[in-house]
């Protein structure tokens, strides 16, 4: 009987042995490059940004697949967490990823509110984080963090270049702005106005409409009555689709020139649904499926998902490229954070968004900004065609 029952002493001994065993095997594995590097993607798989979230995941998965599942000689595992577009949910998920899953690198983040909410947590934990979409200017300025890299645009980079192009090529006065009344809309339109006025341009009315506006017809009628030289507009996702379609429904598409940050005419998120209603639109964006830098990725993505990439998928792919460059510089030894950061800050990374340098003041990407015009592509469908490139646009950074 005694031979089968486990005594307390035996149990203790076994526990101690297994603990010792674990402690011993771990460093051995790491030296052999066997423990995978854990990368966590924080994105929205439900909630208002669900469509962007799916594209982001596809973009990053594509890059990992293309790298043969390895970066710097080590295997990479990807963990995807859904933030539902809510800051509180994201905070909970990030805490879990850091304490429970012990991830090495965090990336993703669509909403600016989410990015600002997790900023202090990742900074305190000294966890390297790469923000792929959230554009809030603050993250490149007062809320910049030494552990957060931003391989994407800031609102200013798009609003500023939009104003330069509008002033040079479209009209020096007689335009008005129309924005979605929340943080991102206020930033894009605000930065557009500042630069446009600095150039010497004169702007008419500023119109704001709540996020989630169901019927734009009353506003579209006002636009028809005012017949402005141009409208600088910003709406995200479904609002953008509705706005563009209702402008077309009222036969004003040819009469009113619509300019905006790229999200208004996003190749993946807006144009497939808006269809011909997007034709003729001009936008400034750090992404274009027609840019030479993204040609390779666009072809690959089209093969896998049977559609052209927009910002979300391209940004996630480019984020992966940046992470890969960093990991390769330390040959997979992710503990050397300073060396990894130094690599990213010292030399440009070539990404699907274009050549990417990082500003050493705030770890913000310095990017080429494309001026896209929506024209017919080779298949006859609306396509963001690059008509001009503003090279190396740098956010004013902490001093602004």
């Amino acid at each position: 009987m005694t031979s089968t029952s486990i005594t307390r002493r035996q149990l203790l001994a076994a526990t101690a042995a297994s603990a010792l065993g674990l402690g011993l095997t771990r460093p051995v594995r790491a030296a052999g490059g066997e423990t995978p590097i854990k990368i966590a993607l924080i994105t929205s798989l439900s909630g208002p940004f669900a469509a962007l979230g799916e594209s982001m995941r596809a973009g990053l998965e594509l890059l990992i697949l293309e790298s043969g599942g390895k970066m710097g000689g080590r295997r990479v595992t990807l963990l995807v967490e859904d933030d539902q577009g809510k800051p509180d949910e994201a905070v909970r998920k990030v805490r879990k990823l850091l304490s429970q899953d012990k991830v090495d690198i965090l990336c993703g983040v669509i909403s600016a509110a989410v990015a600002l909410a997790i900023r202090d947590i990742v900074t305190d934990a000294k966890a390297l984080t790469f923000i792929s979409i959230a554009a809030a200017n603050g993250l490149a300025r007062e809320a910049a963090s030494p552990y957060i890299f931003r391989p994407t645009k800031t609102s200013w980079m798009l609003g500023h270049t939009g104003a330069l192009w509008t002033y040079d090529k479209i009209a020096k006065e007689g335009g008005l702005t129309l924005g979605s009344d929340y943080a991102a809309g206020r930033e894009y339109v605000g930065d557009f106005m500042t630069t446009y006025r600095q150039q010497g341009g004169k702007l008419g009315q500023q119109l704001w409409t709540p996020l989630g506006t169901a019927d734009f017809a009353p506003i579209v009628m006002n636009l028809a009555a005012l017949s402005p030289a141009f409208v600088y507009a910003f709406f995200p996702g479904a609002d953008a689709v509705r706005f563009l379609q209702q402008v077309r429904d009222f036969k004003l598409q040819d009469k009113i020139r619509v300019i905006g940050p790229g999200a208004l005419f996003d190749q993946e998120d807006v144009l497939p649904a808006a269809g011909d209603a997007g034709m003729g639109g001009i936008n400034t964006y750090h992404q274009s499926p027609g840019a030479p830098a993204s040609a390779e990725f666009a072809a690959l993505y089209q093969k896998v998902r049977n559609r052209l990439p927009g910002e979300a998928s391209t940004s996630a792919y480019a984020t992966g490229q940046v992470i890969r460059a960093g990991i390769e510089a330390v040959a997979g030894d992710i503990a050397q954070k300073d060396k990894l950061k130094e690599r990213l800050l010292s030399a440009p990374v070539s990404t699907a968004l274009g050549p990417m340098r990082f500003d050493s003041r705030n770890n913000q990407a310095i990017l080429d900004i494309y001026v896209n015009e929506v024209r017919r592509g080779q298949d006859g469908k609306p396509f963001n065609t690059v008509v001009h490139t503003y090279p190396a646009i740098q956010d004013p950074g902490p001093k602004a």
Partner: protein
């Protein structure tokens, strides 16, 4: 002058859309005394059905009956289980059940139809504009106004002027007495729910041309529908129609004049209406169950 005329037409088309979302909900909520928070899901389902129907190249005018039939069928299944067991329960239990289901449906639809925004490939015939005193107005919106008006009239006639409608109304007031008259009240409620679900789907199909379809639309629509029904007053079709018109006109004109405060103004006015007439615009005497 023509500007105001077109804005009035805009308000009218938005009102009809609100009315379409409100009618089905009003039928179950006020006549059957059942809080159905899955109504927004029926609306979104109808939208997706119409988009895929027309996208597949089937005759466009059949898309709307198809949306009605498919949403109605889902309603029928839900009525068998689990709604049927909850008709006699308290409102709180009904809210718990139907809200939970609406979350499940939202996930199912995101899984089945994808998370992308989709828009109705409007048929050629409805794509043009008519000129109203020199200003363009889309034909599709006229189509929405006409079909919504016809539907509301038909439903009002069915509920208020036919024996079937009388039976449904009687069921709400006293189910026991109706049973003693030899009518199967369970079956009457089933018919009511199927029609309501079908109307939700039909509203979604018509609305897809204006609102497009995307995950999250179900909740937005449900909120508007609840607002329309509650402000209109429980238990009356006239009230629903009246409050849809009020909300549509207030929203449209506040968007035209003060777009920044559009939500504040329209919701503020609706709240004021409820403060002045707590039981809604049109009140019908009925026994609280």
């Amino acid at each position: 002058m023509s500007y105001y005329l077109v804005q009035t037409l805009n308000a009218l088309s938005f009102s009809v859309l609100l009315m379409l979302t409100g009618l089905g909900l009003s039928l179950v909520l006020s006549l059957m005394n059942f809080v159905n928070l899955t109504h927004g899901s029926f609306f979104l389902l109808g939208g997706y059905v119409a988009i895929h129907w027309i996208g597949a190249g089937a005759p466009w005018w059949l898309a709307f009956p198809a949306a009605f039939v498919i949403a109605g069928t889902v309603g029928l299944v839900l009525d068998r289980f689990p709604f049927g067991r909850f008709y006699p329960r308290t409102h709180l239990m009904q809210v718990l059940l139907t809200y939970g289901l609406s979350v499940i449906f939202a996930d199912l639809m995101r899984w089945g139809f994808g998370a992308d925004t989709m828009s109705l490939p409007t048929p050629e015939l409805l794509r043009g504009v008519v000129f109203v005193a020199g200003l363009p107005f889309p034909i599709y919106r006229l189509f929405i106004i006409a079909s919504g008006g016809a539907l509301a009239f038909g439903l009002w006639y069915a509920i208020d002027c036919t024996l079937w409608g009388a039976a449904i109304r009687a069921c709400v007031i006293d189910r026991g007495i109706v049973e003693t008259l030899g009518l199967n009240t369970r079956r009457i409620f089933t018919v009511g729910l199927v029609i309501a679900a079908g109307l939700g789907g039909l509203g979604g199909a018509l609305g897809a041309g204006m609102l497009s379809a995307y995950p999250g639309l179900d909740e937005e629509v449900l909120l508007l529908a609840l607002l329309v029904v509650v402000v209109g007053g429980l238990g009356s079709f006239g009230g629903t129609v009246l409050s849809a018109l009020l909300l549509g006109f207030v929203t449209t004109f506040s968007r035209a004049w003060l777009p920044e405060f559009a939500n504040f103004l329209s919701l503020g006015i609706m709240a004021a209406v409820l403060v002045i007439w707590p039981s809604g615009l049109v009140v019908r005497k009925m026994r609280q169950v």
